[in-house]
């Protein structure tokens, strides 16, 4: 390996170290300097992320041996198209949610009124928690070691739960519920790791793929179940709506956009890696059925909600359902289109959903509440916010031009080719239901002439952050080809699509 490549690969290290550094500085700093540490992190982490993504684009897949030992003795990172696509998405979403947070986190819970003796939570620890969340996401996407991934999952779960709890009483019970679900999921995952490690003596995902057999089905079941808890696949979504709706808006954006995608990513990584040789057709059918049920149940619940953030949270339950269709559509006789389409959909949903939550944050900031009945005509005083909401909504509907359209197109095409007509119907039917709940918000906000009185002025960076994410979700449509090319780096799905022996 030549000198410049070592320096280029070091960007992978910086993309993990710098967010943890920023979080540590924000913890160390006093009241005055805390925001400086936050701004440093918000500037430096995306730069490192972009450089790391560019390195992958230029050098191809990188297997980075931490400590120079190499698996099975040491821990390896694997930077391929799949992991770096998610690292890049994380960088974009957390940068913009962070910009939103710089303005909105000063007051507890986005300016919502707190009543009674319910003590206002301190926000002194928001930035340390936020950057630790960022660092643990990047470390998780890069790690190729089953046990190291467990530690990353715990870091992610703890920082998510703590960030959720920053918004007061309902948020606290939702957060502790999530903490238990997260611990339960991690321990199920870890027990699976123990069985795999016990049987094969290695923790490296690629090495495990070479030796895994149908005797590892128990590990598959344990690890998959654990990650389904964390990904909130119907009917294990019970914790999600309250947790995501009660959190401060930038946190909701990170949780709904990224954190549930992290455990989904790990599922994909496992099913396309160590578990690829296993007979998983039946299990994939179960996941697909649950995904279809999630689309219907989540959408119907979203249609029934009376509060904006709850509606968006139930929409996440529904949209997560689409992601799980890739398992029956992509397995067992590998259909690459389903895998890449599913991942692409995950990215477009990450952008669109975080945009929607940031919009909701602007609305709550302005109106002090998110009751849909009292938000009629809100588009008049908040045109930018509601325009961003509409753009992001287009992606949820899956109509062109949007990232959601391309993702759904790939999934439907895979479904038709595989003869899974029912899934094709569900995918487009889910789009209709999404249209229902998006218009339930948009139509009254646009059509009513009289707008709510007594609104607070929303700082422009908050609206700009939401709008940028929504535009990015739409632009994804035009970037589809480069993204699919990037996703092919290192051929992460080769084991399930017949490209490898």
């Amino acid at each position: 390996m030549s000198g410049p490549d070592v320096a280029a690969e070091a960007w992978l290290v910086w993309s993990v170290v710098v967010p943890f550094l920023a979080g540590s500085l924000a913890f160390l700093a006093g009241r005055r300097l805390r925001i400086a540490a936050a701004l440093f992190g918000l500037a430096a982490t995306p730069i490192c992320t972009a450089a790391a993504v560019y390195t992958t684009h230029r050098l191809g897949p990188v297997r980075y041996r931490i400590g120079g030992w190499g698996a099975p003795l040491g821990i390896d990172w694997l930077a391929d198209g799949l992991s770096m696509l998610l690292v890049g998405t994380t960088g974009l979403v957390l940068l913009l949610a962070g910009i939103h947070a710089v303005r909105s986190i000063r007051a507890p819970s986005g300016g919502e009124q707190k009543s009674g003796t319910d003590a206002q939570p301190t926000i002194a620890y928001f930035w340390p928690l936020y950057f630790f969340l960022w660092g643990s996401l990047n470390a998780l996407f890069l790690s190729n070691d089953a046990f190291n991934l467990y530690v990353c999952l715990e870091l992610l779960g703890f920082s998510s739960a703590a960030l959720m709890a920053q918004a007061g009483r309902e948020a606290l019970t939702a957060a502790i519920r999530y903490l238990f679900v997260s611990l339960l999921g991690s321990l199920l995952y870890l027990l699976g790791v123990a069985l795999l490690f016990g049987a094969h003596g290695t923790l490296d995902l690629q090495a495990l793929r070479a030796v895994a057999s149908s005797s590892d089905l128990a590990a598959l079941a344990l690890m998959t179940t654990g990650l389904l808890f964390k990904t909130a696949l119907f009917p294990l979504h019970f914790w999600l709506p309250a947790a995501h709706a009660n959190a401060p808006a930038p946190v909701s954006a990170a949780l709904s956009g990224l954190v549930v995608k992290a455990s989904f990513y790990l599922l994909v990584r496992l099913w396309a890696g160590p578990f690829a040789p296993l007979p998983t057709a039946d299990a994939a059918a179960v996941l697909g059925t649950l995904g279809a049920a999630a689309i219907v149940w989540g959408s119907v619940q979203a249609l029934r909600q009376r509060r904006l953030k709850m509606l968006i949270a139930y929409s996440t339950v529904a949209q997560l359902g689409y992601l799980f269709l890739l398992f029956p559509l992509g397995a067992p006789h590998g259909n690459l289109e389903a895998w890449t389409g599913g991942l692409y959909y995950a990215v477009s949903h990450a952008l669109a959903k975080s945009a929607l939550f940031l919009c909701a944050g602007c609305v709550v900031w302005a109106a002090g509440h998110d009751r849909l009945a009292d938000l009629k005509g809100i588009a008049r005083p908040l045109p930018v916010t509601m325009f961003a909401f509409a753009l992001a909504g287009v992606t949820l509907l899956g109509i062109p031009p949007s990232g959601g359209f391309v993702g759904k197109w790939n999934l439907v095409s895979a479904a038709v080719r595989g003869g899974h007509w029912a899934y094709a119907v569900i995918i487009y039917g889910g789009g209709l239901l999404a249209a229902g709940y998006v218009f339930r918000v948009l139509a009254p906000s646009l059509l009513f002439q009289k707008s709510p009185a007594g609104l607070r002025k929303v700082p422009w960076p908050m609206e700009a952050a939401a709008l940028t994410l929504a535009i990015a979700a739409v632009l994804l449509d035009f970037l589809a080809d480069p993204i699919f090319a990037f996703l092919a780096i290192g051929r992460p799905f080769a084991a399930v699509t017949g490209g490898l022996p």
């Binding site: 502790i176 339960l184 870890l190 509060r307 709850m310």
Partner: protein, 110 residues
């Protein structure tokens, strides 16, 4: 002749502990009970982890990698417990109860 060897015996014990802990975690709504149950689950996993690697490289000796992983896991479990107890105390201070309410009760207030 024993039915189970040393590694299997500890492994099976770990599996029983894990199952008991899982049952307790799902069954109980009192937060302290849940915390205890999660810790029982964790102990079960650690036992399985060490047991399945017992004597695999050097006969009759535990595997240093598995030992290191369990040490890491214990520290994570301690941190999780501390965090969960702190959350429980806050829940108790604000709601007067240490039980986990129904998920529906957490919808944002008007």
């Amino acid at each position: 002749m024993p039915v189970l060897d040393t590694g299997q015996l500890y492994g099976v014990t770990g599996a029983i502990l894990f199952s008991l802990g899982l049952y307790g975690t799902l069954r109980h709504r009192h937060l302290i009970r849940k915390i205890l149950a999660v810790n029982v689950m964790g102990t079960g996993v650690f036992l399985v982890l060490v047991a399945t690697r017992y004597g695999r490289g050097v006969p009759g000796a535990p595997d240093p990698v598995a030992q290191a992983m369990v040490l890491t896991g214990i520290v994570v479990a301690v941190s999780a417990t501390a965090m969960a107890i702190a959350f429980t105390l806050r829940v108790h201070a604000t709601t007067g109860s240490a039980h986990l309410p129904d998920a529906d009760a957490e919808e944002p207030r008007p």
